[in-house]
Structure formats: structure tokens, C-alpha cells
Amino acid sequence: MYMRALRLSLAAVFAVAATLFAPSQARADSACTSLPGSGIYDNWFTGGYQVFGGTISGARGYIRTYNPFVYYNGGSTSAWVMGVNGTRYAQAGWAKAPTNSDPYNPVFFIQYTDATGHIYPPQWYGTIYPPNVYFYQANSPATNGVWTFQMGSTIVSGVGLGWLPNEVQSFGEEWNFSGDQTAGDRLTHTTFRSVQYSDFSNWWFTQFGTPSNPYQAGTPNNPSNPDRGDAGYDALTASSGSDFDIWDARCP
């Protein structure tokens, strides 16, 4: 009887282990298998922001991974947290790049500027495996402007940028007006949870969505371009100033 119990225990252990370590390529997140591309390229943003009177150390939060449809020609979809000060920024998140056959899952990325606003080349890390939700952080824990970035268990530290943020942003972003799916669909939203900023001593929940800094869905960088929210593409619901969902309303 003991040996039978032992065999059953071993079988259970190996079954669970096999499930946890099995590769999960190309999860079936993409409710939209195709979207019509557009000749309009810009950057459209869905999420929240908060501006502070003085400097803070950075931003962090939990973002669900999603595998959206991305337009093959110059499209991109991403979701991130970011510290901002004017044109200077430092961000960590996930991004989905287009390819000819579009078979790939998103990857982690970081991108940042120095104190002059010069944008350094992006860095990408890893294929993202389950679980679906990862912790992201872009933070200068001391006042010397040396940043640490974290995406899940991937940590990049010692990045001397020489500036500190006075604004937190957390958004989903697309590059092609109609060909990029917003992160998320009607049934499976991309969730942003417990978005926080730090005053160097403590972490505080953000207060997105007040009259002075309303949540926004599908805002273009160039105001002369169409708004994806107004077009019925980008959607957002918020349950607090630091918890919100985004998705593409075109995707069932």
C-alpha cells in the first residue's frame, strides 16, 4: 500500500512538473486573427498618468501579458510602466513585434533616454512564458539617477541616466492606426494592477483618472491624427486610480 501511494505521489509530482515546464508558444490570446492595416502611423495610447510637483523615483505595477495581432508592416503593440520628466523617459514592459508569419509571443523590453533626452536603443529580453501576469518596474531608487529595471525575474540595474522623473505613466500603445490590435480583447482584457510610484522612501498607489489627469483611450500623439478611442478601437475601464483594464473593442 505504501509503495502504491509512493508511486501515485511520484506520478502526481511529475504530472504537475510537466505541466508547469511545458513550453507555451503562441497562446491563443489573439481573438483577432487579422485586422486591416492603415497608411496612418503614429502612436496611440490607452492608460493613465499622474504628474507630481517634485521628483519621484519611478514606477511599478503588474501587467498581464497578451498576444495581440500586430500589423505586418511597421506595426507594434506594447504595454508598460514608465517614469517621465519632460522628453526624458525610462520604461519597462512587454512588446509584440510583427513578422511575416506573425507566430511569436510578446517579449519583455526596456527603453530609456539620458538626461539630454537622447533615446538609447531598445533592449528585449526573453520569451514570456506563463504565468500571465508579471511585475514591471522602472526605478531610480537613490537620487543619483541610476536606474534599475525589472520584468518578471529579469533585472537590469546600474543604468546611469542622470535624471529623475516627476511623472508616472502606464499605457498600452499601438503604432498602426487600424492594423494593430490593442492589448486585450472583449473577453480577455490586458490588466494593469497596483500601479505605484515611489517617493524614495515608500511606494504609493497612483491616482490616475482624476479630472486633472483623466484616463484616456486611444489618444494619438499627433492630435491631427484620428483617435482610436473615438473610432471604437481602444477601450478602457478602471476600478481605481491604480487598477484598470484595456482591450480592443473590435476583437470578440
Binding site: 513585434a97 513578422t99 528585449w124 511623472e167 505613466q169 500603445e173 484616456q216 492630435p223
Partner: protein
């Protein structure tokens, strides 16, 4: 008594195995790895130089303009590789690279999480499964002549603002990437221009 002890030992073995397998093992394996190696320095051939933010110079120059101090790339030859060059190149489609790599070197790659500094036990990079990227058999690749979209354009414009944010954006034309030679997993990539 002896049978009971054997059964208890067997159950203890199962519990330890389960712990090692289901995540708690990560720390234990890391501790064992650290115990067996006082410092996780990159291979001796991989001498490195420090730099400020951004790219830097690795005197190995395996990746030429894409060399970085915190990524030690030591060219080698694989005795067994489950992933051929073409498969590794396709894996870099994860960041939008297309076509054939200008440089494709079988290598042992050690990557650290501190920019401009050689990897150590405390800064060793973990892959997406939490495993250290330490002398990892991998394809080290450089793609030139690309037009890769940046993952983000930077800050969002506040909707109330009428002015677009200034952008200094250009597609990335040269990227380096590291692909695991055993699993084909894309481990990391970075723009070089």
C-alpha cells in the same frame, strides 16, 4: 520498523523532489551553483570594459559594433546543438528581425544585469524560466540592414494638450540577439545604432 523508515525516507524524497521541481528548487539550485563557484565571472577569454549607459566595447569583438560589457560572448563550437542557424535566425523574429544574420556565432554566453559591468553571481541575468544565463550554449547573432519598429515611442501625450510630443524616432537598423542553442528560445536582443 525498517519498512516504516524506508517508506518515510521515500516520502521525504518525494517531498524534496517536489520542492526542487516546483519552484523552491530555483533558490536551492542557485545556492548550489554559487557554492560550487565562488564568483560567476565570465570565461577568461571574455575580458570586458566598463562603459556608461548604452553600448560598450567588449574586446572579444565577436559581435563587433554590438558588443556589450555585460554580455560575455565566447565563440565556441557545439558538439551537440538542437537548433541550427536558420532556426535561431527565425527566433529573432520575436523582435521583428528578418532575413539572414550578418554574424552568426556559436558561443558560450554569460549575461549580467548591470549595464557596463561584467556579470557576477549577484547580477547574473535570469532567462524567462528563472535559469541563469551562465556560459549558456547559444547562437550570438547580429542582423544589419533592418527596419525594426521600436517597442514604444515614449511618453503618451496628455489628451488635453494640443501639441504632439517631440519624437526622435527612427527604426532600429542593427540588432544583436542571443538564442539558446538547445531550446531555440530567444534570450535577449538589443539595438546597436
Amino acid at each position: 520498523m525498517g519498512r516504516k523508515m524506508s517508506v518515510r525516507l521515500a516520502f521525504a524524497f518525494v517531498l524534496v523532489l517536489a520542492y526542487l521541481t516546483l519552484g523552491g528548487g530555483t533558490q536551492i539550485r542557485a545556492a548550489l551553483m554559487q557554492a560550487s563557484s565562488s564568483s560567476l565571472q565570465p570565461p577568461a577569454e571574455a575580458s570586458v570594459q566598463s562603459s556608461s549607459a548604452g553600448s560598450s566595447v567588449n574586446v572579444n569583438a565577436v559581435l563587433q559594433e554590438c558588443d556589450r560589457a555585460n554580455v560575455a560572448v565566447v565563440a565556441t563550437s557545439f558538439s551537440v546543438s538542437a537548433v541550427d542557424r536558420a532556426t535561431a535566425e527565425r527566433a529573432v523574429g520575436a523582435i521583428g528581425a528578418k532575413g539572414t544574420a550578418a554574424i552568426a556565432v556559436p558561443a558560450l554566453v554569460t549575461s549580467g544585469g548591470t549595464l557596463g559591468v561584467a556579470p557576477t553571481a549577484n547580477t547574473i541575468q535570469k532567462d524567462s524560466r528563472g535559469q541563469a544565463v551562465l556560459s549558456r550554449p547559444a547562437w550570438a547573432l547580429v542582423f544589419r540592414g533592418q527596419s525594426i519598429q521600436r517597442p514604444s515611442a515614449g511618453p503618451a501625450r496628455h489628451k488635453a494638450s494640443l501639441q504632439p510630443l517631440p519624437r526622435q524616432l527612427a527604426p532600429v537598423t542593427v540588432v544583436a540577439a542571443i538564442v539558446d542553442a538547445q531550446t531555440g528560445e530567444f534570450l535577449m536582443g538589443w539595438g546597436c545604432d
